[in-house]
Amino acid sequence: MALKIVKGSIDRMFDKNLQDLVRGIRNHKEDEAKYISTCIDEIKQELKQDNIAVKANAVCKLTYLQMLGYDVSWAAFNIVEVMSSSKFTYKRIGYLAASQCFHENTDVIMLTTNQIRKDLSSPNQYDTGVALTGLSCFVTPDLARDLANDIMTLMSHTKPYIRKKAVLIMYKVFLKYPESLRPAFPRLKEKLEDPDPGVQSAAVNVICELARRNPKNYLSLAPLFFKLMTSSTNNWVLIKIIKLFGALTPLEPRLGKKLIEPLTNLIHSTSAMSLLYECVNTVIAVLISLSSGMPNHSASIQLCVQKLRILIEDSDQNLKYLGLLAMSKILKTHPKSVQSHKDLILQCLDDKDESIRLRALDLLYGMVSKKNLMEIVKKLMIHVDKAEGTTYRDELLTKIIDICSQSNYQYITNFEWYISILVELTRLEGTRHGHLIASQMLDVAIRVKAIRVFAVAQMATLLDNAHLLTGNMQRNGICEVLYAAAWICGEFSEHLENPVQTLEAMLRPKVATLPGHIQAVYVQNAAKLFATILKNQEGNTDSTAAQETSQMMIDRLPLFVQSANLEVQERASCILQLVKYIQKLQQKDVEVAEEVSALFAGELNPVAPKAQKKVPVPEGLDLDAWINEPPSESESEDEQPKAIFTKEEPKHSRPRHTEVDEKELARRREARKQEQANNPFYIKASPSSQKVYQEAPGVEHIPVVQIDLSVPLKVPGLPMSDQYVKLEEERRQKERAEKKKKEKKKRKEKRSGRGKKHDSGPESEEDITPAHVVDIVTEEMPENALPSDDDDKDPNDPHKALDIDLDKPLADSEKLPVRSHRAAGAPKSSAEDGEAENATPQEPKKKSSKEKRDKKKDKERDRKRSKEEKKKKKHKHEEKEEDLLGGQAEEPVVQSEEMKEVEAQPTSTSAEVSDLDFWLSNAPVPSNTQEAATVAEAAPAPEAPAGTAADSEPEEPKDTETEESSSKHKKKKQKKEKEEKEKKKKKKHHHHHHHSDGGGEESVQNGTVEEEEPLPPMSNYCLLAENSYIKMMMEDADQVCDIQGNLQDGSQVVVSVIFENKSDSFLKSMEFNVLDSLNSKLQRPEGSGPHDGLTVPFQLPPGVSNEARFVFTVQSIVMPQKLKGTLTFIVKNEDSSTHEKLDFKLHFTCTSYLITTPCYSDAFAKLLESGDLKSSSVRLEGVNMPFHHLLARICFHHHFSVVERIDSCASMYSRSIQGHHVCLLVKTSGQTVSIDAKCDEPTLLGNVLDEIKQTFSQC
């Protein structure tokens, strides 16, 4: 044995540590991967060893390898092992590894719940800190739910180090478990005024994150934040608050008015650039929110713009960047004030820094007007030529298109210019944005009817010179443009000057090198062109021209029929046959043009992008239902080869398409039209009823634009947009001159009247009229589309769930789940557990069974709560008569006493809202902000009486009692009251209480014993000690057996003590001390002596109660224990403070060492058969309660679970923290209950039975 240890430690000495690993990797530069894989093998070996130090070392190395990109998820379980080490060094390594590689789908995470809980309540603040840090990275919804209450308790920890971490992690908890937000919020709010600046900053941080997503719920905090803003000197906090105000102000314009003055002051006074910048940002937000209401803020705008100009002109690139960023925000509402700095922004376009250039580009977007669009785009085009990197050039390209196309081409006065810009952009080499240009071309050509003639001409030249675009393989991206060009030429072919030439260009052999989808469009549109040509030539007497065209088609199309692209092939062969047929008819001198062009009749209208989405689903249509049952997988495999097969011989099947005669075609067309008429998805040729624009003129009425032929249309690739700029200027000048003339006339007419003020200076926006009537067709929408604006919301946004009204009073159902230590034996759930157990191997892992137990407890708590609820109701009814505050009886009883804030909230909600109103309206003039701030401070005062009233109310003696409670001992009754409060404190979200409210009440009152009769409430909390100042209640000790049983940790017992302040004074510096016995010791933080007390990690304001947990180590568990202890504390009044002391006795019963452990009946039977167990029995007389109550009591108070129940006989099981099995057989007949028990430790059994007896003798 000893030898083994020595050997182990020698091995260990040769283990690599992290430094060795790093060094090794650096020494194996050539074969790094190989070296690492041997290292991973070593690590796997190390992880198999029992020595936790070796494991920790291995996990540490894994963390490093994870950084290098190696998947280490296979070691997740080992990481959990290292996390649960008792040594801080290893624990820290474990948590670090977990935070690096755990995520929501890591399944071992669920094993960590209890370990993390243990670490959170560790007396060592750094254990807690490490656990919080780790948890912040891998918290899951389950962890959040289970640990929310523990973390909330930590928010009131004595150490600010823990407090700030607990506050920060709450944000993650809220995200994962939104139900926790409302119960936790009062305490979070409280932390805004924490004495420690770090905690305060953390609270501000969390609330700012929350408010950023759902600002409206946090509006009521504005006065508090305002106070912080005017008082805080911490720039971090200030920045966060000012950012928060930026988010709040759009919701409440009055807030903005209040903010402007202090923000302006800050802008003038602060030397910190970051603060200045955020102030400017928020002032901008305020101005945006005010832009409609308040006209007189030009001074503030000027100030902002000035400050930003200074930033932009600064030599520090960072400030320049931020200045531009903020400027773009002003731009949205006050474009005029930014436009005056156009020079500066254009100058930034030349900056060497790409980030800055991009920001400047963003600004340009908002700075264009009808007047300067051409000029700005011209400048951008120069930049496009100069730009070196393709990314920046692509960015420029998209920006040009964005700028021009914004708000439905609002600023474009001359679409010929725009088309030529697009054509120029096609010359860009290697751009990725070919499709963008293409879609712009299509969009403009479709929507601006008047431009089609010009567009078609341009596109024809593009097609003619297609080789320029496709010649270079690097230019591939741009060939997308040909897609648009071909389509436009085909669709609007009636405008083509020389269709035959274009057709020839579209059928060149070179086309076959283009991507398939473009070729397909080529083929299809060649057919359209062909139809147009036929139509044009039909009138001619000489039919040879038409026949020549047909021949050309027949000659060229076979090239496409051979295409590898299915689409191209299909279309080409289809059209080829059609043309052949037409040729036949032509030779017979039949007029075919009419019919051929009818193939492509009809006009396409643009469809709104959301149109499809907005088509309402017709009644009775279930889109999720299967039309055909899905085929099984094996079938689908069979089908695949068939698809390949058809591809091989397409020609045999094709020809029959063309053999359909004209009649048939016409009939089909008719049928199709019918169908289309009924089809909401089809875009009809008739003008839609929803067209907003003026009647679309027919094709023949399109105003033909006179194109100045000085523009060299035929030379592609030559910058020509400049000409348009000049033309446009001339046109404008002409217009202006005309206008002046008109005005002069008018003036002459009006001269007799008052003088005309109109100045003929620089033209205003409205003066510029578009070159021709720009007929922008609006997008079509389905007839019965529903207007909605929620299209843009992301349904997966986790913050959506946090959109919670925080001012509403906290409902009982919303309380956080608290770890409960009771388990009433619900036969059903234990059976479930039994089954679950069955599924797992014979020896279930401790952890997993624990998990299950937790779940079960949850369930039971739910049930119990619903019963509790009924009980409460009843009490309330009784109280109502007695209560002096009868009107309030409904509300405060439900509230937890522990949280004064929560309690105060319901009564003050309305007050608070009006507070905000008052706070906001009280200072219409910004100059008296100081006053307002003090008002805000004073405002909560009126709430106080209500709050205290609510507090004092539950203390009122309850004279009327129900039959049952009157029979009980006085003390018991008190206890029950307390325990009710406790229950209330356990904030557990549950669903049952709503529907159980009504009926349950009656059944209790008439006292009939039914099977469904709810169990009376039970609690393990008992009064520990009490004096005029404080009341201590202890929960019957609760056991936490270390998860890692193999680690040397002994058995631990956690005692939860509730401290309740009964006085009107403030209680602080509470110290909890217990005289250790040989057997039981209080766990104290490292370094403290055996007689030192433990500081209770909170202070108690009057009327408040809070819970603290203390850990004890216990050696022997067979005997009950009594420990003497003292609580010392300082009572602080307004004028004096006194030192007080309270003695108490802690009673550890044997029961408290039992853990509710579910047991399956087979295992139970085996256990009984094994013969290792000693038996004992006890008889209880005069037990007057239903059997299931009896069982529930045993389960609840003594931590048993029901294994099996048959009529009036039940077997129960429990296990001690040291692994003793305790089995009970409970039988009842009449009022006699006999309990036969077996256990492997007779002393323990005897004591447990005594305790059970005592429990029943009490009632």
């Binding site: 283990d15 820290r92 994150e209 720039n235 960072n318 800055i356």
Partner: protein, 203 residues
């Protein structure tokens, strides 16, 4: 929120990565991609974006395609051989984060006494522990350098009192172990790598 903190050297070798959000899927294609691969992709992309920038341009960079979205920004500083990159969303103040990086580096400098890249290479875990005192779960925890250093030191002392990870005997043996290595890799072709912390005016 800070979404990620990356430290890598001039050649793009990661020295510390800390993701506060779980990135596991490639932005463009929907095929599942392991977290580790995704993280490496992000590092490569970020390095690509950051490394081609001059030292005298601004420290902000619009987010890359992987750490997606217009709401994200890369804020970085370049010290000697190392890039410190913070990926943040719009709730963080840009200048504030720049200052935070400075605080972090100064803290490293204090904890390692003249920090250089080698310190980060061999003591990644320690750097993590320091970072944990500055940023927690993507939110700024502490900005006061003295407070950070104090907390780190207390924890280091605790570790020492527990004997540390590699207790004394193991260290004694490391000399033996080094004999097996072809060369003692103490100064591996990294010249002057001390991170010079320029004193910046507080923000």
């Amino acid at each position: 929120m800070i979404k990620a903190i990356l430290i890598f050297n001039n050649h793009g070798k990661p020295r510390l990565i800390r993701f506060y959000q779980y990135f596991h899927q490639a932005a463009q294609d929907t095929s599942y991609c392991k977290a580790e691969d995704m993280q490496q992709q992000i590092i490569r992309e970020t390095f690509h974006l950051v490394s081609k920038r001059d030292d005298n341009v601004c420290n902000f960079l619009e987010g890359g395609s992987l750490i997606g979205g217009s709401d994200y920004k890369l804020i970085y500083r370049h010290y000697a051989t190392l890039y410190f990159v913070f990926c943040v969303d719009s709730s963080e103040s840009e200048l504030g984060i720049l200052d935070l990086i400075q605080v972090f580096v100064e803290t490293l400098d204090k904890c390692f006494e003249n920090v250089c890249e080698l310190d980060l290479i061999f003591h990644m875990d320690k750097v993590h522990y320091i970072l944990q005192e500055v940023v927690m779960g993507g939110m700024v925890l502490e900005t006061n350098m003295n407070e950070i250093v104090a907390q780190v030191e207390v924890q280091n002392r605790m570790e020492k009192s527990e004997g540390g990870l590699s207790a004394a005997p193991a260290r004694a043996v490391s000399a033996v172990k080094n004999m097996n290595l072809p060369e003692i890799p103490r100064n591996i072709n990294i010249g002057d790598i001390n991170i010079k912390v320029p004193s910046l005016s507080p923000f």
